[in-house]
């Protein structure tokens, strides 16, 4: 870092993967309210930027969920970006969801100090002078056909100030790494980029600079998605405030967008629970009232556990939840006791266990699921 002034501090509000217009279908009945909450949180971004004293805003791709967002979504985005850009420079690169050139021009209507970096190759940076000092932003819109290896074109300009790269791409261990059409960001390539901060987008989980490897550390950061798009995106989601000071690594802080987070309660042992309500209580003890719990039911149930009924209890309390049933029904004493009975349920239990016993893998899981469904059907006749 070569800042000339002694006490320069540049604050960058770094955001990515807002996915405006996303369906949030994974949340089922909560989808509509969640979409509304995400939009409301996005509208508050200018206030966050002002409160945190951000000198610039970086949007690292996938602002929209679709190449062709609806008019409503476009209007909302334009208004928020206009408000942001009226106070500070805003830099945007496209992502893989809004990669076509038809989406971002709508943002351009916001004008002001808005910079949409749409070239496939690095060139001279866009330089702005902020209250924190000179800021040079380099960004590309990845286009394999035009430049399959855009990182090679990066050259740091000889100018004092903070040099920041804005990219949308997948690091080596991120999900899109295997996708042929995504920009791949090998760790060593990232480490070679001579920049003070690399603002990334695409990976939906927060990853601070410390998460980019000890062998080839890079001052890079993924802020994660703005709001969890499904139950796999657990933990806090929102935006990052990056503080850049001379001769110091970037300091990043993750701020919540305010949209209800998904909380991973981990594996919950259902052993000892007498009914579904007790299992739900056990999960609720680990959850936060403001979050949506997700987790896996483990162990050997002492009763005919109904994961759907447990989920229903949790939905009544938290608004939504996601459970995976990994309980070992076939180990449960009660089902073996049931199988000893001369009742029709006993016959079902006996026959079901026998059928599952000779199978492996998915077929075994299907038979165990069938046994559970059959017992439930007989129970709730």
């Amino acid at each position: 870092m070569d800042f000339e002034r002694d006490r320069i501090l540049i604050r960058l509000l770094h955001i990515a993967d807002v996915h405006l217009g996303a369906s949030y279908a994974a949340f089922g009945p909560l989808a509509d309210s969640r979409r509304a909450a995400a939009l409301e949180a996005f509208r508050e971004l200018p206030e966050h930027a002002a409160y945190l004293g951000a000198h610039a805003v970086l949007v690292a791709g996938d602002l929209f969920d679709d190449t062709f967002p609806t008019d409503r979504v476009r209007a909302e985005a334009r208004e928020v970006v206009r408000r942001l850009a009226s106070e500070r420079p805003v830099f945007i690169v496209p992502g893989n969801h809004d990669s076509a050139p038809d989406a971002l021009p709508t943002i351009n209507e916001a004008k002001g100090s808005l910079f949409v970096l749409a070239e496939p190759t690095f060139g001279a940076p866009v330089t702005v002078v902020t209250d924190g000092g000179p800021l040079h932003i380099y960004g590309i819109a990845y286009d394999w056909a035009r430049d399959p290896d855009p990182l090679a074109s990066f050259q740091r300009a000889e100018a004092p100030g903070a040099h920041v790269i804005l990219l949308h791409g997948a690091v080596q261990d991120a999900p899109h790494w295997e996708a042929g059409s995504a920009l791949r960001l090998p760790h060593d390539s990232l480490a070679r980029l001579d920049a003070d901060y690399i603002a990334l987008g695409d990976y939906h989980r927060f990853r601070p600079p410390a998460g980019f490897g000890q062998d080839s550390p890079a001052p890079a950061c993924y802020p994660g998605s703005f709001a969890a798009l499904d139950y796999t995106e657990t933990g806090t989601h929102g935006f990052v405030l990056c503080e850049l000071e001379p001769e110091k690594p970037p300091q990043v802080t993750l701020h919540s967008s305010g949209v209800q987070a998904v909380l991973d309660v981990g594996e919950v042992d259902v052993g000892g629970c007498a009914d579904d309500a007790e299992v739900a209580d056990r999960i609720a003890d680990r959850a936060d009232e403001t979050s949506l719990p997700t987790g896996a039911l483990e162990g050997v149930p002492d009763y005919d556990l109904d994961a759907a009924a447990v989920a229903e209890h949790l939905r009544a309390r938290f608004g939504g939840c996601h459970l995976v049933d990994h309980t070992r029904l076939y180990d449960a004493a009660w089902i073996h006791e049931l199988a000893d009975r001369p009742t029709i349920r006993g016959h079902v239990a006996r026959l079901g266990l026998a059928r599952a016993g000779g199978l492996q893998g998915e077929e075994r899981q299907t038979q165990l699921r069938a046994l559970r469904l059959a017992l439930h059907a007989l129970e709730s006749r």
């Binding site: 026959l351 046994l371 059907a377 007989l378």
Partner: protein, 778 residues
């Protein structure tokens, strides 16, 4: 396992009863006692009739209904609290109207008039509700199994009807099947099993499969379009790569151009300085040559500096003198001859050209001028002037001829001598005049004239040479001044440039070191030029230092491009032209591609969506397979269960009989059907009648049949409360104890309501009544 249903409370206006009764939920029988006519059986009946009502089309049922009209005269009704299927339900029935209302939690369902054997939707729905709670929708099967009314025990028959009743219990299987099929069809519209009907409404799986098909179609369309566009895309890719390469090369050349231009500028400046230096040197040499020439000339003129210099017109004077000397000599000789009389005077004295006097020439010229004026001033004025001049000329000529004719005719010798002397004197005067200022004029004679002329010419030549040298020196000095004034050279030097002075030291040479004390013309110019040369050398050294500082390291020039600015500029020009053409073609191509592009999502997004849909399809598919497997599981389990029904029923009856008789009777065995059943007593097989059984044994066997049937239903998870009216009738104390013990055992898992008037037996058993009824008078 679900909890067995049980009665919690009844409030009724039914027969002799008008009030309410609570039933405990402890794992022991609910004991209702009272004397004969106290209404024990009526209470038990009211519990079931409140739920199932009366079949009014049956005369026997109508008769019972009439018998149960409240003695108080109030409307006949009953409200039963029943706990079943995990909830409490309140069933209110108005027997007069047949209306039924069900309260479950906060839900109230008014069924209106419900008929026990009716076929309306409400009737069916209510019966379905009863089946859900108790396992039966009708009262009949209960009267043959769990409702053991006083006196009915003797009517009990072990027959296949019990198995048919059990089939009613198997309806749970039907309900489970239906539930699974419904769940399956929420996923899929496909037939659940071969031969079943296909649903018209899509399930989740169908929707997902359709979405997958749509997305796959979209992907195919995108790929098809991409296949069509492939040549364009390939060309675009090629152009893109070429553009990127050209851009990099242009950037590289542009980066190299700066230093190269700077270097070329320095080299050009150095060449210019060389030229200036050379020019200054040449100028300096010329000045010095001129100065040497001037010095030589000055040295030669110094030789005759003390002599009188010949006048500049000495050459013309010599000619004139030669003519004057010749005429004087001739005139002197003629004068001598005339004086001696040896000759006539000649006309040699005439000095007019062609013998025509000068005025005549002037007038002749006037004549010509007059003629020349004619075109300008007109004929007459011109002619007048010409004639006037011609006349004057002719007149002057005539007068002169007359005068000369006089002389030619021979002048007088004295006159001639006088005129000759006069002429001689004139000649002498003119000779003297010509001799004036000529050095050594006294010795100047026609004989010495040639020497004098050579001397004069040498003097003239040397003087001219000196003047020329002086002028050349002055001119060069002016040129040097202008040259120096035209230059703009810095006079400052740095330490580094001093080191570079040797670069030009040889060319400047010793001349530069020559002291400039000489004051010859141009000396100042020489000094200026020398100073200029020094400045040039210093400037060149400065530039050389800068030139050495220009680095071309890191600038890799493409092959075929020389490391000079012009070559690079030529290459840049070529590259830029190619780049412009490439960009132009790329732009056209992009426009073509944009025109061909349809509204489509990025392929990555489509692939993500497809992946998600396939995971959903997999999940729903697995659930559908599990539902199918569950259905088959219940079907198979049910088939096995049914295969064992008769055996199991007999085992259950035998088990109860063994309990009731402490093993003295049993087991019960059958042949082809239950109607042929016999009970083993020791080694004997006895028909289920009395005799051969004693009356007490028959009572025990029939009780065992009832209880075994209830157990059999319980295996089907049909466990309505067991209502036993006067179970101890006709039993001795020992058997009564066995029956009570058995009922207590059964009461641990289901509700058992026992009605008995036998106080002695109850006291013997130590059983306290939970509800004590007293006889009322109607």
């Amino acid at each position: 396992m679900s909890e067995a249903p049980r009665f919690e409370r009844i409030e009724m206006t039914y027969g002799c009863h008008e009030g309410s009764f609570e039933f405990h939920d402890e794992p022991r029988p609910v004991l209702i006692t009272g004397d004969n006519g106290a209404g024990k059986s009526t209470l038990a009946e009211a519990l079931l009739r409140a739920l199932f009502g009366f079949h009014r089309k049956s005369g026997a049922e109508r008769e019972i209904l009439e018998l149960r009209r409240p003695w108080s005269g109030h409307p006949m009704r009953a409200v039963v609290n029943l706990r079943a299927a995990g909830d409490s339900h309140l069933i209110e029935r108005h027997f007069d109207t047949g209306e039924v209302t069900v309260h479950g939690g906060e839900d109230i369902h008014d069924f209106g008039v419900v008929r026990p054997a009716g076929s309306s939707a409400q009737d069916r729905k209510y019966r379905s509700l009863l089946r859900e709670w108790l396992g039966f929708g009708e009262l009949g099967p209960l009267t043959q199994t769990v409702w053991i009314r006083q006196g009915d025990l003797g009517q009990t028959r072990l027959e296949d009807e019990l198995l048919r009743i059990a089939d009613g219990g198997h309806r749970a299987v039907g309900g489970a099947h239906k539930q699974l099929v419904d769940a399956y069809h929420r996923l899929s519209r496909l037939p659940f099993e071969p031969g079943a009907k296909r649903r018209s409404k899509n399930g989740k799986l169908d929707t997902v499969v359709e979405e997958i098909a749509s997305v796959e179609e979209e992907i195919r369309a995108v790929r098809s379009r991409e296949a069509e566009r492939r040549p364009l895309l390939q060309r675009r890719d090629k152009l893109g790569l070429q553009g990127a390469r050209l851009g990099r090369e242009i950037e590289s050349l542009e980066a190299a151009l700066g230093p190269l231009s700077q270097r070329d500028t320095f080299l050009a400046q150095l060449r210019e300085l060389h030229r200036i230096h050379r020019q200054a040197e040449e100028l300096l040499d010329s000045i010095r040559d001129a100065r040497r020439g001037a010095r030589t000339a000055r040295e030669q003129t110094a030789d005759f500096a003390e002599q009188t210099r010949y006048p500049d017109d000495f050459e013309s004077r010599a000619e004139a003198l030669r003519a004057l000397w010749d005429e004087r000599q001739h005139l002197a000789g003629e004068l001598t001859s005339v004086a001696a009389g040896e000759a006539q005077p000649a006309v040699v004295l005439r000095a007019e050209p062609l013998g025509v006097p000068i005025p005549a020439w002037i007038l002749a010229a006037g004549f010509i001028a007059g003629l020349a004026l004619i075109p300008a001033v007109g004929v007459w004025p011109g002619a007048l002037v010409a004639l006037f001049a011609l006349g004057g000329a002719l007149l002057v000529g005539a007068l002169d001829r007359r005068r000369n004719g006089t002389m030619a005719s021979g002048p007088e010798p004295d006159i001639y001598a006088a005129k000759a002397r006069e002429r001689l004197a004139e000649l002498e005067g003119r000779i003297e005049e010509k001799m004036n200022g000529v050095p050594d004029a006294d010795t100047l004679t026609p004989d010495t004239l040639a020497d004098r002329l050579r001397h004069h010419r040498w003097q003239v030549k040397v003087t001219a040479q000196e003047a020329k040298a002086t002028a050349r020196t002055d001119q060069l000095a002016e040129e040097a001044k202008s040259f120096v004034e035209g230059l703009d050279l810095p006079r400052t030097l740095d330490a580094a440039t001093v080191l570079q002075r040797d670069f030009f030291a040889a060319s400047v040479g010793a001349e530069e070191k020559t002291p400039n004390s000489e004051t010859a013309p141009g000396g100042t110019a020489e000094e200026q030029l020398a100073e200029c040369l020094r400045a040039v050398v210093h400037q060149a050294a400065t530039i050389q230092v800068q030139l050495d500082g220009v680095s071309l390291a890191g600038h890799n020039l493409p092959e075929g491009v020389d490391a000079d600015a012009k070559s690079v500029e030529r290459a840049l020009s070529q590259l830029r032209r190619t780049h412009r053409e490439s960009v132009g073609e790329l732009t056209e191509l992009e426009l073509d591609l944009a025109r061909q592009r349809h509204v489509s999502r990025p392929s990555l997004v489509i692939e993500e969506l497809l992946g998600r849909l396939r995971r959903e399809e997999e999940y729903h598919g697995m659930e559908a397979r599990a539902l199918t497997a569950a259905h088959r599981l219940i079907t198979d389990a049910h088939a096995r269960f049914q295969e064992e029904d008769q055996t199991r029923l007999l085992e259950l009856i035998s088990s109860r009989l063994a309990s009731l008789t402490e093993g003295r009777l049993g087991p019960v065995e059958s042949g082809a059907g239950l109607e042929d059943a016999v009970v083993r007593s020791g080694s004997r097989q006895l028909a289920l009648v009395s005799p051969p059984l004693s009356y007490g044994e028959l009572q025990s066997v029939l009780m065992a049949v009832r209880l075994g049937s209830a157990d059999f239903l319980a295996d089907l998870e049909i466990q309505p409360p067991l209502l036993v009216d006067e179970p101890f009738a006709h039993l001795d104390v020992g058997r009564a104890e066995e029956v009570w013990s058995l009922l207590c055992q059964i009461a641990r898992s289901r509700q058992v309501i026992v009605m008995s008037q036998d106080r002695l037996i109850l006291e013997h058993l130590g059983a306290s009544p939970d509800i004590q009824l007293t006889a009322r008078l109607g």
